[in-house]
């Protein structure tokens, strides 16, 4: 039975790099701003630098984020929990090319906690996809918040282990016009290499 199922599975289309010339096609005006009129929750800024093996900024990368609303609900049919209110003003997807200094910026809201495997709960986090010249496939990582006590019980951070989990914790920066700002550098390679996921 299982053999039959396996033989029916079609091979996937392979990944290729996004290349250096995507800027006139993929980023769109406002792509880094997830805030819409009437959005619920605490506004925050996420900012970081993408760095290569020599700690040089990667100026032709692209970052995508995906996150839950402030109440911890994903804008997707698979998240059908009626007990958690949806926010019609929040989609939770953003896209930002890095600038000449390798920096990306997103304006969003602080996500709520979401369910994890089994009966676990995941600490507030943002899923990140990294693309760029020299990246043959997407690198997937996550951003967690430094002040979140729930990090101690997060099932994914638990799999990462204590030695490298800190690469996934953003740093609280100075506020910008009263908006909490977090720095999250992505080290593709090197001593401080960020944890990337096979998921």
């Amino acid at each position: 039975m299982s053999d039959t199922l396996v033989s029916e599975v079609r091979p996937l289309t392979p990944w290729q790099t996004v290349g250096p010339f995507f800027h006139y096609a993929l980023p769109w005006e406002g792509g880094e701003n997830l805030l819409r009129e009437g959005v619920q929750g605490e506004r925050i800024i996420i900012r970081g630098r993408v760095l290569d093996a020599m700690d040089q900024p990667v100026s032709d990368a692209m970052v995508e984020i995906w996150q839950a609303s402030s109440s911890g609900r994903y804008d997707h049919p698979e998240d059908n929990r009626t007990e958690v209110p949806a926010d019609p003003a929040f989609i939770g997807f953003g896209r930002c090319p890095t600038n000449e200094d390798g920096v990306f910026t997103f304006h969003t809201v602080r996500p709520g906690p979401v369910p994890g495997p089994g009966n676990t709960e995941q600490a507030p986090h943002i899923a990140i996809g990294l693309f760029g010249r020299g990246l043959l496939r997407r690198l997937v990582t996550r951003l967690y918040f430094p002040e979140s006590e729930a990090n101690a019980h997060d099932p994914i951070l638990d799999l990462v282990g204590p030695e490298r989990a800190d690469t996934l914790i953003a740093k609280r920066d100075e506020e910008n016009s009263g908006v909490p700002t977090y720095w999250f550098n992505i080290h593709i390679q090197g001593e401080n290499e960020t944890v990337f996921f096979d998921v």
């Binding site: 029916e8 599975v9 079609r10 091979p11 996937l12 289309t13 392979p14 990944w15 290729q16 790099t17 996004v18 250096p20 010339f21 800027h23 006139y24 096609a25 993929l26 769109w28 792509g31 290569d52 093996a53 020599m54 040089q56 990667v58 032709d60 995906w66 839950a68 994903y74 804008d75 997707h76 698979e78 998240d79 989609i91 939770g92 997807f93 979401v114 369910p115 994890g116 495997p117 089994g118 995941q122 986090h125 899923a127 010249r133 020299g134 990246l135 043959l136 496939r137 997407r138 690198l139 994914i156 799999l159 593709i188 390679q189 290499e193 960020t194 990337f196 996921f197 096979d198 998921v199």
Partner: protein, 234 residues
């Protein structure tokens, strides 16, 4: 909350580190990826966002200028399926490419080939209920790059797809049948040969339109999952 898992990324995937493609050397992780289960975070993703995200649809990249772009007009069509053969409906397909002379509309493209004032080379279509997509463009040219001496990229069109969730995201490149540059291209060759062929479109006379344009078919397979949705429940 346990969620149904999408199939693992196949062994045919290119590694992050493929030294023939020189830019990967300093831009690939050296520590192993940390394997994690898909959670509600990964099995959800941007979907049904209508026109609130991304740029406006462009089905015909030859109609974006004041006149007709130079080069060979082509039709590219195909289906987006998951690995169980189910169509992936209503998903955005973003495409971009250089012009027929091998030049991108990009300030960092310094290749000594002409820009075409009537061609930008970016488009965006949505799959229908059967997962079908179709767009009209100009056949892109090959172009040199500085990866190694006499390095030339095979003609290609970039494809970016979402699929139903975060886990099914895919960015790839579509190549053209019979192109001798494919098998000496470090980017295409980062993928093993049997899987590389899945990135090569095929000429199709039924997609071709009489006295107008040649047609190429490029089907795309995204990660699927074992769940068979109940159909016609009695």
């Amino acid at each position: 909350m346990d969620v149904l898992q999408y199939s693992p990324q196949a062994l045919s995937e290119p590694p992050s580190f493929a030294p023939g493609y020189v830019s990967t050397v300093a831009r690939s992780p050296r520590k192993p990826l940390v394997r994690i289960p898909q959670t509600l975070t990964e099995v959800t993703g941007p979907a049904d966002f209508g026109e609130r995200l991304l740029r406006a649809p462009v089905h015909d990249m030859t109609r974006e200028g004041k006149g007709e772009p130079l080069g060979e007009r082509i039709i590219v069509a195909g289906r987006v399926l998951d690995d169980r053969g189910h169509p992936v409906p209503n998903t955005v397909v973003e495409v971009w490419q250089c012009n027929s002379a091998g030049r991108y509309v990009h300030k960092k493209d310094q290749h000594d080939a002409p820009l075409d004032p009537n061609f930008t080379g970016q488009g965006r279509v949505v799959t229908d209920e059967e997962g079908r997509y179709r767009f009209v463009t100009i056949k892109p040219g090959a172009y040199p790059w500085r990866n190694h001496y006499n390095a030339w990229r095979p003609a290609h069109i970039h494809f970016s797809l979402f699929g139903p969730c975060f886990a099914t995201r895919l960015i790839t490149q579509m190549y053209f049948p019979g192109d001798p540059l494919i098998d000496i291209d470090p980017i295409a060759c980062a993928v093993p040969s049997e899987a590389r062929n899945r990135m090569v479109s095929r000429f199709d006379i039924d997609t071709t339109e009489n006295e107008w344009a040649l047609g190429y078919v490029f089907d795309i397979v995204l990660r699927g999952r074992n769940a068979t949705p109940m159909e016609n429940p009695q």
